[in-house]
């Protein structure tokens, strides 16, 4: 949530009307950052408690899932003891916090590895997918939104908005299978499943003269990223369109034209810049949603990220792992929001951090 953002940014600012708000001082930015980061601590504690409570309420026992149908009740009881599941809830919660303070997120019941190791091993893949999807969604969404706002009521506008409607309403599961059927099975252009070399390494490989590694990574990334970007692209395009149309009607736009500025300059410099503000905060929020959408997309395209891990962990009641994943998602979400607030201030100098 943007802290201390003034009202709706309808008041126009440009080089002719000197802005009254002064730029935020660097010191203030740092103080602001520290305060925001400190706020993460109570949030994390809250998340842990809420998740813990939910896991207490939902029925199902990791010990029995782990040992399978054929295990005897005594064997299950013994494992519950070993795992500490028979301790009272406050002891377990206390232990969990005590371990957290020493940086220990616990050990996955099913994979028998530290939760941190497991999550870090998967995090890169999910971030890569979510960022790629967000980039595609932003580029597509902005382009579609701007074009249809410029040509409001035209056939291009109608077509774009029909696409946007489809993008919002198509289930990502179905779209994923359809994309795979078209581009992997029928046309055979792209691989159907899996991930290539992680992008950062692939870039290095490309720089050291092996561009095919990068091409392979990108070809694996394209289909899942496209599937995941459909919904946010649609939402961004609709929002950009509305926001642009609103700005086009503002007085300052008429003034800009009256001054003799050319249309492209008016659109980019005056209309789009103002129209971007609400879009920006939506893009930030969408990143969180993307992490959620990635759960399905990853399962279908066998993308080895956190989404797939989440499904497995929940279906097995792997309690420490679920806690760890929820905390990770919360942290990412909080960091992205912070980033959006900082960007806000960068795009609109009237917004002051503090």
């Amino acid at each position: 949530m943007p802290a201390a953002i003034s009202s709706r940014p309808a008041v126009h600012q440009d080089q002719f009307a000197p802005t009254l708000a002064k730029q935020t001082e660097p010191d203030a930015v740092i103080a602001y950052l520290i305060r925001r980061l400190l706020l993460f601590i109570p949030m994390a504690v809250g998340m842990v408690v809420v998740t813990f409570g939910l896991l207490l309420i939902i029925p199902g026992d990791p010990a029995s899932v782990l040992l399978g149908q054929e295990a005897s009740p005594e064997a299950i009881e013994r494992l519950r003891d070993t795992l500490g599941l028979n301790d009272p809830w406050y002891v377990r919660l206390w232990d969990y916090f005590a371990n957290l303070l020493s940086g220990d997120f616990g050990t996955s019941i099913f994979q028998n590895q530290p939760v941190t190791t497991i999550i870090l091993g998967r995090l890169g893949a999910t971030i890569e997918l979510a960022v790629a999807a967000l980039v595609i969604a932003t580029v597509l969404g902005l382009a579609m939104g701007v074009i249809s706002a410029m040509r409001q009521g035209s056939i291009i506008d109608t077509i774009t908005m029909v696409f946007a409607q489809l993008g919002v309403s198509m289930p990502v599961y179905w779209l994923s299978l359809l994309l795979m059927l078209a581009f992997a099975v029928q046309l055979g252009w792209l691989p159907a499943i899996g991930r290539g070399t992680p992008l950062p390494q692939a870039f290095c490989a490309a720089l050291s003269g092996r561009p095919q590694v990068l091409m392979d990574s990108l070809s694996h990334l394209l289909l899942p990223a496209l599937a995941l970007s459909a919904t946010p692209a649609a939402i961004i395009s609709r929002l950009t369109r509305t926001s642009m149309l609103e700005m086009l009607r503002e007085d300052f736009v008429r003034t800009a034209y009256a001054k003799g500025l050319r249309r492209p300059r008016v659109i980019i410099r005056h209309v789009l810049r103002n129209a971007l503000l609400p879009v920006l905060s939506v893009i930030g929020l969408r990143f969180g949603m993307l992490l959620g959408g990635a759960v399905l997309t990853e399962s279908i395209f066998a993308w080895p990220g956190l989404g797939q891990l989440t499904i497995t962990a929940i279906s097995q009641r792997d309690l420490p792992l679920i806690q760890g994943i929820v905390l990770t998602f919360a942290l990412i979400f909080a960091l992205v929001n912070l980033l959006v607030d900082l960007l806000y201030a960068a795009v609109d100098p009237r917004v002051r951090l503090g």
């Binding site: 026992d61 782990l66 149908q69 054929e70 497991i118 499943i193 991930r195 279908i300």
Partner: protein, 508 residues
């Protein structure tokens, strides 16, 4: 054109590299990631299948489910409570260290230790002790005669020295099987390479990659797109019919080793009378469920004995679908529609029953919904309860709180595995609380006799009683399917367990 270009390039490459390309690699699609690769702790299909390649056991179970020599070259049973295994000479683990009787003793001793929490421990509990006679001889002492034991001795032998030295066998396994682990990218793929130290020599296939694709349809599409060379059960029925019709692919479709069945809670007042269970069983339209919901992938079942088993007899039959017969039986038991509301009642109470299953398997959910409809046609007010597996199994069926539950059992390599713990009085997985001294006696005889004909007779007699008393109503025998690219580099031998040794060109 593109294809032509590609194959020309491949040809040029093949000519240039020559012998290097002669080493074949295959890619297999699978549904879940392995949890652990410690052969003693495996609990999911992927782990079983990978462990079967990485490790070798004393015996190997062939596609006909017979035990064949693997690490043991021979064995004898001087009396029904003793098994003596003779190991091959010069056995080595994939890291080159020797495999001796000590490793066998270590593997089984740790497995039997309750604190080790091995999921399959119950299968081995009749073993009293395992001792080393000499470096190449191991002796198993049993509490009581236990015929199915041999079917379970394909358990992979782990290296004692490494395991005790603190190596994490679960993530860095070392075995004496035909392949060895190269890399394991959690959630994505498991890569194996041929083990030159395998006693029979390295297999023809130099590299096996298992790609983890959780979604059934996505896995089928990846196979059609050529990303995978082999896929196998579980697959969606509609994908199976499409793949079977595609002449680019070869297939092996055979009866599997699993059943889908209805578990009646015999401790429930409504269901304690076998006649009531018979009446409910007659409402299960097996033909429609297997034919339409499972699209003929599975087979209509007739008893607790599998058709693939030596104990099978076609003469033992559970009740079949008969709506009028069921209503007549309900009437006979005093359930009549006395108030004309379309629901049977007795002593002023409606005939109400809860059908339950778990939500992970859409076919089971659909089956329960279909059964609900058939039940209501007979005047039974059927409710459904569908929850995810951990809630369904732990908090419901395993606590005997169900009435009629739809479930499955897998890996039934021996009739004992489907019947003993499940249906003897007080058995560890007897969730329906069934108890019949005659059945107890027959199932005990079935596991203790070492004579197969005697065993078959005992199981058939028990199956006959069970087909009348119906603590279990076996809905279907699960099918097993495997599809492979016709250009597969080796001969393909499928096994109903889905194990992969038949795909890697093993030396005989």
């Amino acid at each position: 054109m593109k294809k032509l270009l590609l194959s020309t390039t491949a040809l040029v490459f093949a000519l240039a590299i020559g012998p290097a390309l002669a080493q074949e690699a295959i890619v297999v699609g699978t549904d879940v990631d392995a949890g652990t690769l410690d052969s003693r702790l495996t609990r999911d299909t992927t782990a079983y299948r990978v462990a079967d390649l990485i490790y070798s056991g004393l015996v190997h179970i062939n596609p006909q489910l017979k035990a064949e020599p693997d690490l043991a070259e021979s064995w004898e049973t001087p009396d029904p409570q003793t098994f003596i295994f003779k190991l091959r000479e010069g056995l080595k683990f994939s890291d080159g260290t020797p495999l001796t009787a000590d490793d066998v003793v270590y593997t089984y001793t740790t497995l039997l230790n309750p604190d080790f929490n091995a999921p399959m421990r119950t299968l081995y509990t009749p073993i009293k002790s395992v001792e080393k006679v000499d470096d190449l001889t191991v002796k198993f002492n049993l509490e009581s005669p236990y015929a199915p034991l041999l079917s379970y001795l394909d358990l992979g032998i782990v290296p004692q020295e490494l395991a005790e030295g603190g190596r994490d066998i679960a993530t860095q396994p070392v075995g004496a099987g035909p392949m060895q682990l190269t890399s394991w990218n959690r959630g994505a793929e498991i890569v194996l390479e041929a083990n030159p130290n395998y006693w029979a020599g390295a297999p023809e296939i130099a590299k096996v990659t298992l790609k983890i694709i959780p979604d059934n349809s996505a896995r089928a599409q990846a196979f059609e797109a050529g990303d995978l060379d082999v896929i196998q059960s579980p697959l969606s029925p509609q994908d199976i019919s499409r793949l079977a019709a595609d002449d680019r692919f070869g297939n092996a479709i055979m009866p599997g080793l699993g059943v889908t069945y209805i578990n009646f809670n015999t401790k429930d007042p409504l269901l304690s009378d076998p006649k009531m269970r018979q009446a409910f069983s007659m409402l299960v339209d097996q033909q429609t469920i297997v034919g339409d919901i499972y699209q003929g992938v599975d087979e209509v079942a007739s008893s607790v004995l599998l058709p693939s088993s030596w104990a099978f007899s076609p003469d033992i039959k559970q009740p079949t679908f008969n709506l009028e017969g069921a209503i007549a039986l309900f009437n006979e038991l005093g359930w009549q529609d006395s108030n004309g509301d379309g629901i049977l009642d007795k002593d002023g109470k409606n005939l109400t029953v809860t059908l339950s299953t778990h939500s992970e398997d859409p076919n089971r959910v659909q089956t329960i919904e279909f059964m609900q409809a058939m039940f209501s046609q007979a005047g039974v007010d059927a409710k459904t309860q569908i929850t995810d597996w951990p809630s369904f199994s732990t908090n419901y069926v395993q606590k005997s709180q169900h009435q009629i539950a739809l479930l499955g059992w897998l890996n039934i390599v021996d009739p004992d595995r489907l019947l003993f713990s499940q249906l003897t009085t007080g058995g560890s997985t007897n969730w329906g609380g069934y108890s019949n001294p005659k059945v107890d006696e027959l199932l005990q005889k079935g596991r203790s006799s070492l004579d197969q004909e005697e065993r078959a007779a005992a199981y058939q007699e028990a199956a006959k009683i069970l087909a009348e008393e119906l603590p279990y109503f076996i809905l279907s025998y699960q099918g097993y399917q495997l599809f492979y690219d016709k250009e597969f580099p080796t001969e393909v031998t499928a096994t109903p367990r889905g194990y992969l040794r038949g795909l890697i060109g093993m030396k005989k």
